[in-house]
Amino acid sequence: MFPARYWREIPQRYRMEAEKCKKCGKIYFPPRLICPECKSREFEQVKLKDEGTLLTYTVIRVGPSQFVNQTPYAMGIVKLDDGINILAQIVDCEPDQIQTGMKLKIEFRKIQQDGEAGILCYGYKCVPA
């Protein structure tokens, strides 16, 4: 991953910083410039909850090159306790143990690395709560 793009996403990937529309109260993750609901451009920063519930998931058995050594691995949509849905890798449990409705929490993990000499990219994954 190009360092500048990774760096731009650090507040979201490391700290799960979202933005809440000051006019209608809707929370966006990742942040947006204009609220699609009310067209407001004013937002306040909020930090998302670090626990949630698994809504749905899929198991990747043929992964892209950076993830080929991790197969099979699960990707899921998780509804965090503040109502925001995120897409995240689910780790620290076997794919056949994963069930929709299970409680998950956020952990800080290495997401990928740019070959043997490039940058290491960190961010959030979900583990059983």
Binding site: R15, F108, R109, L120, Y122
Partner: protein
Amino acid sequence: MVGIIGYGAYIPRNRIKVEEIAKVWGADAPSYKKGLQLYEKSVPSPDQDTITMSVEATKNALKRANINPQEIGAVYVGSESHPYAVKPSGTTLAEAIGATPDIHCADFEFACKAGSEAMFVCIGLVESGMIKYGLAVGADTSQGAPGDALEYSAAAGAASYIFGKENPIAKVLHTFSFMTDTPDFWRREYQFYPRHAGRFTGEPAYFKHITGCANAIMSKANMKPEDFNYAIFHQPNGKFPMRVGKMLGFKKEQIEPGWLSPTLGNTYSGSSPMGLTATLDVCKPGDMILMVSYGSGAGSDGFIYEVTDRINEVRDKAPKTRYLLEHNKKYIEYGTYAKFRGKIRMGE
């Protein structure tokens, strides 16, 4: 008075048993278990390293400290397995907890005592008034060469401490450092695995420095082993901390609460700091704790802590270390361990 205001630990869930390693190399598992008093060790997943474990341990420390991370004035990560050769681990940690940009940051390295070094420096900076809070982490995902004795013990884990002057959990009463140039364990530039000097790592290295530091700090404090409720010594295996404790005049009961190595392994820079987290999990207000680290090369940092009433308020705000050690374990075979630890040469 400066003291610990928050502490936390982190242990990966994977474990490998001594028998599993021994059978690959044709070694005698019972003699390793008896000789090292070591039964299994933690193994990081491929997506875990010193940085990720430091972040998780620090999140637990922040839950107990209950402070604004923006008020932390220094972040120091001690490790011999920093993921980058050039680029600090501490910057990622500080960013992940929201402590940037007004903060001093450095990575420390001194074999297994890099974590206690970070604690030592934070205590000094807080005591001097230069910073309000200091964050010190000891974390490692250390490697032993395949088949080497170190492969049975080199493990993964992290401990994080936040120091401050207000409402400490444990007051820092005394510190002491004892250091000489002793080449008992090393890793040269570009080498993947460390090397050690066999039995030379014992008497002139581990035992000399820990007893030297422990006796000096007890003399400075005018205290004897029986004045302490608990003692934590660096844990390269299960045997050494018990033996050095006995040499100094401590009883098994004083050491056992922080004695994690038999089922955790040697977490290097995390070792004695993690033993302290397990001890804080069970201690009472007024208890006195001696902690002495050891880092090859070689040196020891000593600390005397007095536990305060606040321990009962914060202890349950984050997972306890024994819970992390015993909960949700997954035993892996040597092949998976070799894959996880990057011991297999891959094609392009």
